[in-house]
Symmetry: C2
Subunit: 343 residues, 2 copies
Amino acid sequence: TRPDRVYQDRVYFDSYSDVSIHEEMLADRVRTGAYRSAILRNSASIRGRTVLDVGAGTGVLSAFCVQAGARRVYAVEASSIAEQALKIVKQNNMETQIQVIRGAVEAVELPERVDVIVSEWMGYALLHESMLQSVLYARDKWLRPGGLLLPSRAELFIAPVSDPVVEERLRFWFTVKEQYGVDMSCMRDFAKSCIMNSDISVSPVTVEDVLSHPARFAELDLDTLTPEELREVKGHFKCSSFGCASVNALCVWFSVSFPCPDEPQLPVVLSTSPFHPETHWKQAVLYLDCPVDVEQDTVISGEVQMFASERSDRHICIRVNCAIGDENRQNKTFSIPDWSAQS
Amino acid sequence: TRPDRVYQDRVYFDSYSDVSIHEEMLADRVRTGAYRSAILRNSASIRGRTVLDVGAGTGVLSAFCVQAGARRVYAVEASSIAEQALKIVKQNNMETQIQVIRGAVEAVELPERVDVIVSEWMGYALLHESMLQSVLYARDKWLRPGGLLLPSRAELFIAPVSDPVVEERLRFWFTVKEQYGVDMSCMRDFAKSCIMNSDISVSPVTVEDVLSHPARFAELDLDTLTPEELREVKGHFKCSSFGCASVNALCVWFSVSFPCPDEPQLPVVLSTSPFHPETHWKQAVLYLDCPVDVEQDTVISGEVQMFASERSDRHICIRVNCAIGDENRQNKTFSIPDWSAQS
């Protein structure tokens, strides 16, 4: 049975009521630093203007907007962390600029349209939690025509991976005999079916294990993206292997970018690429059912579709249909396991 | 609402259907090595005899019993891992000795009483999962009078701890201003209430952070322990601080021991002490609401009670009522959070 939306939202917002997730997000310097830099570099568009912060959390982005000269910031937050945001606003003497409003952005009323919307809405594999739907809702309802969205663009990437941890875990079952005199090598297949299952595994991919350049398969222009388009995000990819290896997984990640009016060619980019410093989003690892050996320049190509799980609107599924080399086709649908609705 | 027993059992047994937990247990050399050593050293009592393995998992302990000469081993396992145990038995040509029986030990029928019961029933803080209840049930129903229980004794210990990780996490909120220009020091109290909550935190305690010798507060003689006595395990403790420090937690751990007929004074001991090599049980850390400064020889004393949660028979609660020094009394009840019913 599918839990109803009210229940899903309660579980989701509750996951933001503990300190740990906010500590993790703030301590992620790549994330918080990129937002601060982007907001300060857009101060010409923010100074003296009004801002809506969707899912404000501790209110750190709202405070950055005040640092950038915002006249008024509406910090909308549905979870109980809003109480802490209020304390932080007071501690920083920003009560005249920041108004903390507790509620889902779909439910709150603002006294005016805003000039800027800022939001850190990205979940694992970009779309887990589907908070972007709320940002689009806020954009259509509260952003004045021509207003500024921060970030304004998102891109999704994929690359083949050779994950050595899996191989090591499977090898473990061949070592039991030597250690304890009991042959457990027959466990390999069972272990493989458990480990290389259809869960999206959120873990940091070592750059050496990535077997090709990143292939971008989707780009979202947040100024124009419609809620309908967001329902299924998909695209094609094609990459070419760096060398000989056994591909046992694909790895998906994202970047978001913020326009910079002073240097339009140099947007601020927040990247969660395995080629860049690690963030708390790590990467989304998708294990193939059957590892495939590749050589240099073997082509890995296919299609990725991302959509909400039938189980919950907030749970992302990723379907990959790909060909590795000439013959090997794989088609598998992955989803985030139930352990978390956290970003 | 309290889930019913059937549902609780299903959730519990399902947690053993994945490979990861069995990999973790087998890879824990302290655990598996102690069992193997204890079983082989008891081969005089096992050779030509019958054994019941309660919660056999992959069947590794059953195989050790065959290595020790057992004539017949009943490997009872309720989760689907029993299917793998059967494959392992066949791969090791132990079908004539080991009979894998799928079911809860309370529900299965054996063709005979047994001479030995072996079981690895210990959960976090010893009693989480309350699998020992099943072992006592099996003992009373299936062990012949005077039969051997492996292990036959369990002990529980406590010691005061100064956990630096918590202090560091609380300090984080004072560093935000320097990094991002937003003062978040007012988050400290909220962070403290989230981190130093009443969850039993399962984590490895560094030996340098333990502030006294271990104090044993309970001892269970499994040959005579009754199910009623097991319902509440409690005892007093008294320890004396090594030196000046801030006590912010108590740490609980256990050991179990196996009789060795050849050397009755030297039982095999499986210890999960922070003073000994780490096991997958780590330690159970209980955070105090208020850290207390102690000096050399400050006495920390009190009572510990362990009992099943009202939420679920399989969830352990630990109530600590203690005095640190002359005046400071603390009384707090801890429980294992919902994330897991795993050992």
